[in-house]
Amino acid sequence: MARVQSVLELIGNTPMVDVSALSPNPNVKIYTKLEGRNPAGSVKDRVALSLVEQAEADGILTPGKPGQILIEPSSGNTGIALAMVCRLKGYHLKVVLPTNVSIERRQLLEVFGAEIIESPGSEGSNGAVRMARQLASEHPEWTFLYQYANPANPKAHYEHTGPEIFRDCPEITHFVAGLGTSGTLLGVGRYLKEQDPAIQVWAIEPPTGEMVDGLRNLDDGYIPPIFAELGGAEILDRKTVVRPKESIEWTRKMTDLGLFVGISSGAIMAGAVRCASQIPEGETATIVTIACDDGWKYLSTGAWTDDIDTVVERAKKVIYF
């Protein structure tokens, strides 16, 4: 597909590359799917397109009609992807963005003309979600696609990402991906388990850090509605935390294979390595991971070149997932 009518046709069908050279277990192959190849640079292009097209199909948004406003909480990638889709389709996008994201994420939102509404960095993504819900309830005339609760999010992965993985790697035994909205894990995980119920699904998450200190009580906690509604607890087989130091170490190791990926991709690779090292002796396995985005948006963090302890301290203060 070398010639297309619209950049939207370039979303998806991303390549998968063998990274088994980094596997700690010779009987375990590891492949990573390069979602940074999407036109706005991340796996979230799939979600943004699915959310907007579903809203258009439902008559919530009308292409070409002036004055339509969308609001969405995002720590970056969904915002950037939505900003690109909205720019192309003529919608105005307001993104509720925590203050502690990398400068490049902010700049990319501005490139595509999104309006940024800041939420307190100390509250992380939780704070952005809370503020967006509040603003959306005060402005019923705005369209609130709400990726954390919208089935069009996991649907994009059920209909595309999952089938692409199974097509390119039918021998898959384990799928390892990051947990944020849970859209990737739910959509891909459900599709893969329908093909082969023995396929294991591992969720990788960053430590919650200081963000949880702001919670006044446990009920202020947040579980993405799609996770609860679509049986997330049944789809996941393992959920494990990868810390910033390990995430950055593996982000760096991936450059040995010529892969310049974002820090969350390093975290997920670290999780895949942990998974590979737990495969019993004498058994073989094939792990597929998602590299959510490329490294460009994180250059300002010095992740590849600065002293690792300095970078780790910096990473603890920004949202890199």
């Binding site: 993504s125 939780n126 944020g180 996941l236």
Partner: protein, 93 residues
Amino acid sequence: MPVAVRLPTVLRPHVGGRAVVELSGSTIGEVLNELVGANPGLAGQVIAEDGELNKFVNIYVNDDDVRYLQKLDTPVKDGDEVSILPAVAGGAG
């Protein structure tokens, strides 16, 4: 066997302001029962009335969420680090 249990800020008032409590037990369930037994203010917060984990709480043993191991039956051993954390949005969006 001593196990260090790390508590989030929101629960610390119920354990005298401490961030880490040393407890014993061979499973997560035993450790949590000892925790709640010694700190009645935590009753109903970590373990819900139905005896299952509160859905807004995640418990980790050495970075693994016990909900996907053996839940309250997950074994713990000397030196394991247990963390109790509120469920929050991960932030991949």
